[in-house]
Point group: C2
């Protein structure tokens, strides 16, 4: 198996396509890639051609893009690197939750298998990153991801916070204030029709969170 070496750009496209495709299941539009990478659609078209030629994606003109098996494999390795570096930055270097993503974006492109495997060992083979996202192992195997958010629960139901979508500082501060983190138990007290906000119980305190916030906090039902 020849280890293909991709450029930083190619890696970023591949990762984005994987993320947009819902783990490879959906077709991805040129525009969505353009938006997520902040690159003009015309340039995205160029790169799509390039990645297609390398059989990392399949593309039908004007229809959409699908990531190939091989593409998924590579994307998962990039994601593995990204998330392991996030754990390192958070646990060892005392980075804040909202500061890790940007630096991990750079570190993930450092290409040394030895580096990442030793880092994995050093961190004691973590299963999730600080946001709660699962870390693929060396073979690309990855745990199931919770897709249910607080917003999907009904009144009276309980859940444990498992993932937090979004690496924005404001959101981070809000969660801090609310004392919500990975592992926190929440219970739905009420759903406010008027603005779709939700009243929840955290550590015996009741708070109201907006729909957007509720949707960005994924949970495991209890």
């Amino acid at each position: 198996m020849t280890n293909i070496v991709l450029s930083k750009s190619e890696e970023n496209y591949l990762k984005s396509i994987y993320n947009l495709s819902d783990s490879g299941s959906k077709l991805v539009t040129t525009n969505s890639i353009s938006k997520i990478l902040n690159i003009e659609p015309a340039s995205v078209s160029d790169m799509i051609k390039k990645l297609s030629k390398k059989n990392l994606i399949y593309h039908q003109k004007y229809k959409g893009t699908q990531i190939s098996k091989n593409g998924i494999k590579i994307a998962l390795q990039i994601i593995r690197k990204h998330r392991l570096w996030e754990v390192f930055l958070f646990e060892k270097l005392n980075f804040k939750w909202d500061e890790i993503h940007e630096v991990a974006e750079e570190l993930e492109h450092v290409s040394s298998n030895q580096l990442i495997d030793n880092l994995d060992k050093y961190l004691k083979y973590p299963k999730i990153d600080p946001h709660g996202d699962p870390i693929p192992n060396k073979l690309g195997e990855i745990d199931f991801v919770d897709k249910i958010s607080i917003y999907d629960l009904n009144i009276g139901q309980k859940g444990i916070v498992s993932r937090i979508i979004n690496e924005d500082e404001e959101f981070f501060n809000l969660l801090n204030k609310l004392k919500i983190e990975i592992g926190t138990e929440v219970k739905i007290i009420d759903k406010i029709e008027y603005d779709s906000s939700i009243e929840i119980l955290i550590n015996n305190r009741s708070v109201i969170i907006s729909k957007v916030v509720a949707e960005n906090i994924k949970i495991t039902k209890v």
Copy 2:
């Protein structure tokens, strides 16, 4: 103070020019840069123009290149990153002495001051890297470097190994076999005229090392 952002290439040139210039004191030739970076002289000329325009180096056509004060400052920060990463790879990730350089070459270009300062703290502000090379601090201050090698000692004199030049695996294996590392005390027993090799005492064992080897082991006289 506007923080100039340099490309990976620019950083590599600057670092090489600094290293070739003996900490900024000597003129550097286009050919020497070409050799060390494995890039054609014509391309080096191009980059010299670019770095000159940014006032990181001074250049006189056909004469040579000198690194500027600002250039030195930046070069020292790149070297700082490189050496801190080497310490990390060696001490925390169990990389071998001869494996660290290559990976550090990549890591040194990750551009986050917070990252490098936190790493520095995490490693407890090391003064030297695993080769014995001094690590510049945040302000670019750097310790004096030993320039005397085992080869420069006279019969009967003693020294403590302080730096090892060269990141080659074969050399690494040899030093391992000879039980020579940073901090080892050596004493000159004899200088063999015939091939310029040197007989030295290490831990009460006498061994003979070649001139090249002796020159690549820097020491502090005792």
